[in-house]
Amino acid sequence: MDFITPPYLTQNVSVRRVMLQVLAALIPGIAAYAWLLGPAVLMQIAIATATALLAEAAMLKLQDKPLGPFLGDGSAIVTAWLIALAFPPLAPWWLIVVGTAFAIVVAKHLYGGLGQNPFNPAMIAFAVCIVSFPALMSQWPPINAQANFVDQLALVFGQSPRLDALSGATPLDALKTALKLGEGSTSVATVTADAAVFGRIAGHGWEWVAAGYLLGGIWLWGRKVIGWHVSMSFLAGMTLISGALWLWNPAHFANPLFHLFSGGSMLGAFFIVTDPVSGCTTPRGKLIFGFSAGLLAYLIRVFGGYPDGVAFAVLLLNLCVPIIDLYTQPPIFGMKK
């Protein structure tokens, strides 16, 4: 007779199931990414996944933990995929290896492994690499450069010189730089009129990738894998600040829709700030966490020196989680005012 403690019944849920659903939800975004910006991203995903699993296995071995249940839980793969999606797709292979290994070894296992990391490992990887290798982390393939898979592979594995023609800035970065260079003489409208870089609402092509993430996020919400609090408040925070500045000066500030569909907004809203381990746990805490992260991400991407602000915003808020949780404990049954 196996030892079972009550309840004898359990729901058919597991960490593995949760993680697999998160991976499934990333697929629409990844599909759009690979279709519109070339298949290099798939290569990056493969490199990141392999690195993550190896690093995870090595760390588990060092701690004498069983490999099966922990490698199989899928959490390392989720981290790997998020890193691959946050990094430039044509970055050299070792860059993503460094980022992923750092995320798994330092940000996850040195803090105690699954469930113990105070910071989002994928965002740690991004932050470490953008601080250490700012140039490589800012080179994105222009949407109109129809490089084939072989060329992209050659770039990733360093078999061809890194041509400037094949690496530019993200639409978000391009807009910021153009506005800065043409101080006063140009406006958001004239910059975004360039159909080669910009699409209907945000970056050409990128807007569809963001839409893919949004779709996946809604599916996750529908499956009750994520709640609405943190995603919606993140989007609300970003919309509010970008909307206010856009209303105040539409020539200098892009509209909220542009920001929501640019950079890491959608990926952040549904796959990054929703990380339960490093995020807030109380309903009010989640609202504060998401709203502040959205606000901060906007401020960093528009007024800061980095091409996007989601990573730093999330990491800063990760720091605040314990105190937010402490002060937002919900009243319990029978104790409501």
Binding site: P6, P7, Y8, S14, G113, L114, P276, F333, G334
Partner: protein
């Protein structure tokens, strides 16, 4: 009839699995050759045995008397002969023994003389006494003595009486069948409770997956011309938790720190109401109960079973299948594995589920908590189980209490939904029992400290009194030596003498009284040593005492040595 329903947060919806056991009507289980009736079958005091080995008992005869107010009597479930009053294994997860009366049944099933009462013509206090002496306790599984709950709060008017027919645990159908078949008895029992508590409304809550029970209860209420409201409540575990049902029907949330009458509401199970009616109207004490036998068995169903029937005989009624590997008493959410099938059916036995590896598969390996918060969403008391888990795990019990550990009702919803398969409820039980044991230790230490301080104080006082006495004696001697200056009447000189004698006698009496008080305090503070001993141990102690008696008599002649000894032994104890 429109009844506004409220919602409780959280809860889960496991598959109910109730259908197999409602196909057949309630069957009467045969009288087994032997019954093992534990004396302690309810919350509260341990009833004292009223019978000895060799006594003939009749069906319904009281064999254990309630020893205090929160306690309930126990009765012989059938006629027969008492063949033992001894420790027998209990229907408890620990498998520990409990003092039980073992009756060899004679098959005659001869009743004791029964008296029916008209509760309306009796003092409420007398009705409560009858219920206590009939052993009426909460038959939903909590077995709290019902008479204790039938006193309305002095300051708060009783608004609602909630009758619990929700039966939210999966597999369990004993209340369902009882309501279908004996609705009238239940309603009459509810009327007794109503007359004692005088609530403004009576609400009978039944989960909406039992339409037959709802219909039967409604019909009975109408037939008896009562104004009770029979309400179908949404099926969601744990809707049958008293606090959850009160919330759903009245909107009131009773916190852990309050008793429900303080909020003008009280809750009873349907089976309790039925047994109260049998006790009052027929003089039949609680000697049997309806038990659901289900799960991995050939013949699932409900049986009316005499209390004290050994589990193996009960289980044989349903015919467990070959791959059965466990028997669970209670529901699958809050029940426990029966450690020993010789344990008897008791008042708390509402359901026995035969389990198999297919029915209750072993849990997946426990993974670390990922703080997903699923447990917090499922918690009907709106706690943060994952926080409680961290605190319990790290033995940070102060923090666990700050996060309202004691509001946890151990319903198991958190464990049910946990994707990491963490046995959360077990962590909480562990934390609670650790806190209780620490509090006990602290109370004992406090009592010891108080004793010590009391003794010091007494020593000081005695010293001071002695000094005073000596001083007085010296003064008296000095006065005697002095020649009287004139012929004074002798009376005043003599008069103080008896006074001092009186004062000293009074002092001695005071000291004796203080010592007696101290002794009583000691006894009250240290009940643990001699409490909860097995009969064998008690016998052994009695024999040792007998041997010691002559020795002690000898020692009385040398009181100083005795005193020194006791002091030494006290030091040893410390």
């Amino acid at each position: 009839m429109l009844q506004r329903l409220f919602k409780f947060k959280g809860g889960v919806k496991p598959a109910t699995n109730k259908a197999p056991s409602v196909q057949a009507p309630i069957r009467i289980a045969p009288i087994p050759p032997r019954l093992v009736v534990p004396l302690h079958q309810s919350i509260g005091g341990q009833p004292t045995p009223l019978v000895e080995v060799g006594d003939r008992v009749l069906k319904g005869q009281r064999i254990g008397a309630a020893d205090k107010w929160v306690s309930a009597a126990v009765h012989a479930p059938t006629s027969g002969t008492v063949i033992a009053v001894e420790e027998r294994v209990a229907a408890h997860p620990s498998g520990l023994p409990t003092l039980s009366v073992v009756i060899e049944t004679d098959g005659q099933d001869a009743w004791i003389e029964r008296h029916s009462f008209d509760h309306a013509s009796l003092e409420p206090e007398r009705v409560r006494e009858i219920l206590r002496d009939s052993g009426v306790v909460g038959l939903g599984g909590a077995v709290f003595p019902s008479h204790v709950k039938l006193t309305p709060a002095a300051s708060v008017p009783m608004d609602e009486l909630v009758i619990n027919g929700a039966e939210c645990e999966p597999f369990m159908t004993c209340d369902d069948l009882l309501m279908r078949e004996r609705a009238e008895g239940i309603v009459r029992g509810v009327a007794i409770f109503r007359d004692l508590l005088r609530p403004k409304r009576v609400l009978i809550g039944i989960e909406d997956n039992k339409p037959e029970a709802v219909a039967a209860m409604q019909a009975a209420v109408e037939a008896l011309g009562e104004n009770f409201e029979v309400v179908a409540v949404p099926t969601r575990y744990p809707a049958g938790g008293a606090k959850q049902l009160i919330r759903v029907l009245t909107g009131k949330e009773v916190p852990a720190s309050k008793r429900s009458p303080e909020m003008g509401v009280q809750c009873f199970n349907v089976a309790t109401a039925y047994s109260a009616w049998r006790a009052i109207a027929f003089g039949e004490p609680v000697i049997s109960r309806i038990v659901t036998l289900t799960g991995n068995v050939e013949q699932p169903g409900n049986w009316e079973i005499l209390l004290g029937t050994p589990m193996q005989e009960v289980i044989a009624l349903a015919g467990p299948k070959a791959d059965t590997n466990r028997f669970v008493m209670g529901g699958p959410m809050m029940g426990f594995d029966l450690p020993d099938l010789s344990a008897p059916v008791v008042k708390a036995t509402n359901c026995i589920i035969a389990g198999s590896p297919a029915l209750f598969p072993p849990p997946a390996p426990e993974m670390p908590c990922i703080r997903c918060g699923a447990c917090a969403l499922a918690c009907p008391h709106e706690l943060q189980p994952f926080e409680l888990y961290w605190f319990s795990r790290s033995r940070n019990f102060g923090k666990a209490q700050e996060y309202n550990l004691f509001d946890c009702i151990e319903c198991g919803c958190c464990s049910y939904v946990c994707p990491s398969h963490i046995p959360l409820v077990q962590y909480f039980r562990f934390a609670k029992s650790e806190i209780w044991s620490r509090e006990r230790d602290k109370n004992m230490a406090d009592a010891a400290k108080a004793r010590f301080e009391f003794r010091n104080e007494r020593d000081e006082r005695e010293k001071a009194e002695k000094a005073e006495r000596l001083a007085k004696a010296a003064a008296a001697k000095a006065a005697e030596k002095k020649p009287a200056p004139a012929e004074t009447p002798p009376a005043p000189a003599e008069a103080p003498a008896p006074q001092t004698v009186d004062a000293e006698a009074a002092k001695k009496a005071a000291i004796a009284a203080a010592m007696e008080r101290a002794r009583l305090q000691r006894e009250a503070a240290q009940p643990k040593n001699t409490d909860g001993l097995t009969i064998a141990q008690r016998k052994e102690i009695a024999e040792i005492e007998k041997r010691r008696a002559p020795l002690q008599a000898q020692q009385q002649t040398t009181p100083n040595a005795d005193a020194a000894q006791t002091q030494n032994s006290q030091k040893d104890q410390q």
